[in-house]
Amino acid sequence: MLLGVNHKTAPVEIRERLAFSNDPGVPYRELKAIPGCEEFTFLSTCNRVEVLFVSSKGDETERKVRDFLFAGSMSYDEAGKYVYLYKGEEAIQHLFRVGASLDSMVVGEPQILGQLKDAYRTSSDQSCTGVILNRLLHKAFSVAKRVRTETAIGSSAVSISYAAVELAKKIFGNLKGKRAMLAGAGEMAELAAQHLLNQGIAEVVVANRTFERAVNLARCFNGKPLAFEELVPELAHVDILISSTGAPDLILHKEDVKPIMKKRRNRPLFLIDIAVPRDLDSKLNDLDNVYLYGIDDLNNVIDINKSERDKEAVRAERIVTEEVLKFMLWLGSMEVTPTIVALREQAQEICRDEISRTLANCKDLSPKDQKSIEKMASAISNKLMHHPILFLKGEDAPEDQRRKLAIFRKMFSLDSVSRQDNGESD
């Protein structure tokens, strides 16, 4: 089961309330105390907070987890507007999509996989994961890897921010060591800033009319907050400006930037204006070494890459679906009955093989004798199977039960066939 909020379901004000960054140990301790929460992992990033858990108690656990997430900041029903809950196959599919960065704000951005890996490492360090989650998360990592290597989803310009990065690369070549400034806030601007950071930009400075918001946002990027009045002088030290303020008028004129360019010794300045109405004077583009792009210009760049992106996304989704099916197959086998069936089949097969080999050497036996040898073989195998099967059927806590099953299947190598199918999984 997977319960969470992300950038699509909850606005940033809600997500802010869910940030658990102070002490990473706390969520684990609290989640562990929830009854029925047998295995879990906890992922918290700027854009999403998700709890992935395995429970035998279903709804009851879900309710508790949701209470934990919102920690009393809003009622259960109110929270229901923002959270999503996936069960079974849907949860697996969602996790795979998250890992493969198909659910990200910037589709294809590579950071999420690292964050997921960290989350998994922490929860397994705290021994919060078990048989199912171990396998599920490892699978999620390998799905992400497959998507990355088999599709070009991570490489082509897929959104405004990709377009911005693409253009920045054509201007600056390498983005390492460059500085960006974010003026105002807004999903798209933050996204672009995040994306530039992913591309190795040195720092993001955040300017906002309300300094407090600048501070908050800057924390998100590990950057430096700036008062709005400092924006123009700071242009001497940044290379990229992403502007998306709600200002009704232009915030930056050609005359403001002209002296700045002298100070910059004409190092190129890339201005991105994604505000509506516009923040930046369109005459800025006439200045030497200043490149001004508005939202429509960026959309133009995107269109060039769009059809390709769609194709890649479809392929990526196909990989995810395929892997989900494979995982469901494995999950289905992790029950007592199918395990017993598989074990019996295996025993019968061994008996059949051995009998036919023996009988091939003793051709002078009467049909009756042959029958009794066959009977003996199956009796022996049944006797041998008897106690292991009883052990398997024994009542246990669900978590122990799964561990038992896993060991059991390993002992009799019942997964050997399916293991070859997805060889790279572990």
Partner: protein, 267 residues
């Protein structure tokens, strides 16, 4: 023999240029590799040809039109190949190889006949002066190619219409660095070439400077490049302006190249 070597060299350059152009359209890496191999082969062939010319003429082959242009393209080819060893500029080869081949066409059309050497040219300083100057201009020619690429790319970025060149040309920063790199090799060489020229002039004509048109033009060229570098270092000129002046500089240095001298014909 010499004729055959020259034809072979020319053919290799031509093939390399054609393959580089194919690469420019297709952007297939194997094609680029082939083009580079051809250019390297052409460079080696060309070197052999120059050595052959040296023995054929009995002096450094830098006195006829044919030889000067041939040496010029040789210096450019090796200059470019040496760059490849240091760093890579996307699709730079496509532009440079065209210029090299154009020069070789000029060389092919001028007479490769070996002429009697005028006494002033027999001074040992003359081949030193000439080869340094020509190598300098080869680097300035590469700066010229880079400047053209810069202007093409900048135009697409400024007009926001992304056409044929956008994805094929490298970043503005890379091109600007290339320009800087070429000029900072080319300009010191040019200066050194001018100094050796002055000393040579003093030795054979008795005076350092005689306001001969060729001398005047070379002074203009030198001052122009000095100004470009000066502006870059002090005011921080870069990008489009530098590219623009680099192109002017190269055109002026070509004029200098062809401007007649009082002293000689065809130099």
């Amino acid at each position: 023999m010499g004729d055959l070597l020259f034809k072979g060299t020319f053919l290799l350059y031509l093939l390399s240029t054609i393959i580089y152009s194919v690469f420019f359209f297709s952007q297939n890496k194997t094609v680029r590799k082939t083009a580079r191999m051809f250019l390297l082969g052409a460079g080696i062939f060309h070197t052999i040809y120059l050595i052959f010319r040296y023995f054929e003429a009995g002096h450094t082959p830098l006195t006829s039109n044919h030889d000067i242009v041939s040496f010029f393209s040789w210096a450019m080819a090796w200059g470019f190949l040496s760059f490849r060893w240091r760093y890579q500029i996307k699709n730079f080869g496509s532009f440079v190889s065209i210029l090299i081949t154009l020069q070789l066409i000029v060389a092919a059309m001028s007479s490769s006949e070996v002429r009697e050497l005028q006494p002033e040219l027999q001074n040992i300083l003359f081949p030193i002066h000439a080869s340094i100057i020509i190598t300098a201009i080869a680097f300035l020619a590469m700066a010229f190619c880079g400047a053209i690429m810069y202007l093409l790319q900048e135009r697409e970025l400024k007009s926001k219409r992304f056409g044929f060149f956008f994805s094929r040309l490298p970043s503005l920063d890379a091109l600007d660095t290339l320009n800087h790199h070429c000029l900072s090799i080319g300009f010191p060489l040019l200066t050194l070439g001018m100094i050796t020229g002055l000393i040579w002039s003093k030795q054979v004509f008795g005076s350092f400077w005689s306001w001969d048109p060729k001398e005047t033009y070379s002074l203009i060229t030198w001052l122009l490049y000095a100004a470009i570098l000066h502006q870059r270092f002090t005011v921080g000129w870069r990008g489009r302006r530098i590219a623009f002046f680099t192109i002017i500089g190269f055109v002026v240095s070509l004029i200098t190249f062809w401007v007649p001298s009082y002293h000689f014909t065809g130099l």
